[in-house]
């Protein structure tokens, strides 16, 4: 749970009803936290996060020598995690962003993911996510509550 400046409680992410695909609404008190929660929300679609043991840590870096929109950076962040999941059969339950920079000359994320290799005898895969989409993708900020929100539609 997150607590906003005006005392409201927010879940870190919510899976919303979306007809053909899946929509995650993520919240965060900072952009970093918003990105972390979006990643966890995405992973909650793939697998029961509680069933994942933190057996190893994986460093992840995104380094772009240009300024891109925060929404674009969010898409790259989520895609990179999906890539690790699909190519290396890795599942994660913790997504810690150590550094997030998005300025005039660069867009960077360095993060530490914790999880394990998938074991189908132990883990049930709910679904495979094809990709996050740009559909109606806007990071909003409620200044009074001090909360960032984003709705992400995933193609599944």
């Amino acid at each position: 749970m997150l607590k906003s400046n005006d005392g409201q409680d927010f879940k870190r992410y919510v899976v919303m009803d979306y007809l053909s695909d899946v929509l995650i609404r993520a919240y965060g008190k900072s952009i970093k936290e918003l990105f972390e929660n979006a990643a966890e929300g995405m992973f909650s679609l793939i697998i029961d996060i509680e069933s994942i043991e933190k057996k190893f840590e994986k460093k992840m870096k995104i380094n772009l020598r240009e300024k891109i929109g925060l929404e674009d950076l969010l898409i790259i962040w989520l895609e990179k995690i999906l890539y690790l999941n699909e190519v290396n059969d890795l599942i994660f339950s913790e997504f810690k962003i150590i550094d997030l920079i998005n300025n005039e000359s660069e867009s960077r994320i360095s993060a530490l993911l914790k999880g394990e290799k998938i074991n189908l005898k132990k883990h049930e895969i709910f679904l495979q996510i094809k990709a996050p989409t740009y559909h109606n993708l806007f990071i909003k900020q409620d200044n009074e509550a001090g909360i960032f929100t984003v709705d992400i539609v995933f193609d599944v």
């Binding site: 898409i75 074991n119 989409t133």
Partner: protein
């Protein structure tokens, strides 16, 4: 919610008139009956039809097929053709699962031949088909081989012992789409594809053993080798992670390209570039690689299924008559020549959740089906039925030769999961209809429950009444493998 003006053209065709306030360049045309149209309007799907109608160079209309539903960017069931001179190509108009499609295998077997073996048969198919994450592919490709797949499609599978020589004549583009350029496929996409050829994937992908239940067009069914009581196999899959990555890569390219070419987007998922721009040329050549990967994928999947049948019936698949009826994609962009106001014009036709439905005599139809029209395969849900249709002459004028692609969802995945228990549904389908459903995840059975889908019979009937396709055969499920 916005109120849109909808004009009735016929009982099965409706127009969203040109409205400059919405920056529409062409009207929207929806093939639907009144009831389904009301449903579509509730879902704000109409806004997505309108958004597509704002895209540069769109010709005639932004079309919606009878199974239209709310997607992202383009609606699912959307068809848009673009002019070669001032039109665009949009990766979002094809979708992430490039060349997702269906194929149908026939057989000489009848229900009585397989009735007692069903459980074993489905169990064996289930274990012989890789699904995706956590399961190893049966084929590990090298970079050289994946490049050969990009260029040769299903023909690669056939040449490498994973398919049948005759199959290619019954696959769109003879099993291999021209225009691939492997250099335009990213390293990430290639790596994702290494172990994915011949794997099913998840979501609504499936392998279904079916029985032909009803024939509507005897002559066409006979030509396709279909008769009542006979066993068929339907396979629904696409280009897997490789195709998803190509779409993701080029969506990013198109975000900048849209700005570069001053294209105003009503939704960033519609990002696009002029057809003859370097960005579009690159995307198209990479998309073709994914199309060919998908064709090879379905060829391999069919091969695994044929091998299981061979083992179960101690006969070669050839002797079992397991020929390919047809293989058709429903997420793709193609250059096609169509009649536009009495003139032949080359266009780039995007079909997203829509099937090509070319009429008799059209270019691109296999010789043995040429006088009938192009076969169209429409999967329904796991508890009811699927259909084989034929393309029509009328579709060529009405929808650039396009029709529906499936039933269309009625419930979201989350509501389906809330309403249905996967395990109970699995038991109920077996007890009431004898249908064996196998899946790694019970929640995926719940998400794909029959109640989550519209009745595909209504959809194909509307498509027929609108003149977009004609019914040939109805197939009922006996066993289903969910990805």
């Amino acid at each position: 919610m916005k109120e849109y003006e909808i004009k009735k053209i016929s009982d099965y065709k409706w127009e969203l008139p040109l409205n400059k306030d919405f920056k529409m360049r062409v009207p929207g045309i929806i093939f639907s009956d009144k009831e389904l149209l009301e449903h579509a309007s509730q879902e704000e799907t109409l806004a997505q039809v309108i958004n597509v109608a704002t895209m540069p160079g769109i010709v005639n209309a932004s079309y919606a097929m009878p199974d239209i539903h709310y997607g992202y960017g383009f609606p699912i069931g959307g068809v848009a053709a673009f002019d070669m001179d001032d039109g665009v190509i949009s990766p979002g108009g094809v979708g992430f699962d490039i060349a997702c499609g269906v194929r149908l295998l026939r057989s000489d077997l009848e229900y009585k031949d397989i009735e007692k073996k069903m459980e074993n048969l489905m169990g064996n198919i289930f274990t012989s088909v890789p699904k995706g994450i956590g399961t190893k592919g049966r084929i590990k490709l090298t970079e050289r081989e994946i490049n050969l797949i990009f260029k040769n499609g299903a023909v690669w599978a056939i040449n490498n012992g994973y398919g049948d020589e005759e199959d290619k004549y019954h696959i769109e583009e003879n099993g291999c789409m021209a225009g691939a350029e492997p250099l335009n496929v990213s390293r990430e996409a290639i790596v994702r594809g290494f172990e994915q050829v011949g794997s099913l994937g998840s979501g609504n992908h499936f392998i279904e053993v079916q029985k032909v239940d009803e024939i509507y067009n005897k002559a066409a069914a006979k030509r396709m080798g279909l008769s009542v009581g006979q066993i068929t196999v339907m396979i629904h899959s696409g280009s897997r992670g490789l195709g998803h990555q190509i779409c993701s890569d080029y969506l990013k390219v198109m975000q900048s390209a849209s700005k570069k070419y001053n294209i105003i987007l009503s939704d960033r998922q519609l990002a696009c570039a002029p057809i003859n721009s370097p960005e579009s040329i690159k995307y198209y050549s990479a998309m073709v690689c994914a199309v060919n990967f998908a064709l090879a994928n379905r060829e391999c999947l069919a091969h695994w299924v044929r091998l299981v049948f061979e083992k179960m019936f101690n006969k070669s698949y050839k002797k079992l008559g397991m020929d390919l009826v047809y293989d058709v994609s429903h997420n793709v962009a193609k250059f096609e020549t169509h009649d536009v106001n009495g003139k032949e014009k080359k266009l780039c036709v995007h079909r997203k959740g829509a099937t090509r439905s070319f009429g008799p005599g059209c270019h691109g139809i296999p010789d043995d089906y040429k006088d009938l029209g192009q076969p169209v395969i429409i999967p329904g849900d796991m508890g009811r039925y699927s259909y084989v249709l034929l393309g029509t002459k009328k579709a060529m004028h009405e929808s650039f030769g396009s029709t529906c692609h499936g039933a269309g969802r009625l419930l979201s995945r989350t509501s389906a999961r809330k309403k249905v228990n996967g395990k109970e549904l699995q038991r109920e389908l077996f007890d009431s209809k004898g249908i064996i459903v196998l899946a790694d995840s019970m929640s995926s059975i719940a998400e794909e429950a029959p109640i989550a889908y519209k009745d595909v019979k209504n959809i194909v009937d509307i498509a027929e009444k609108a003149g977009l396709s004609e019914k040939v055969a109805k197939l009922v499920p006996l066993g289903v493998i969910k990805g």
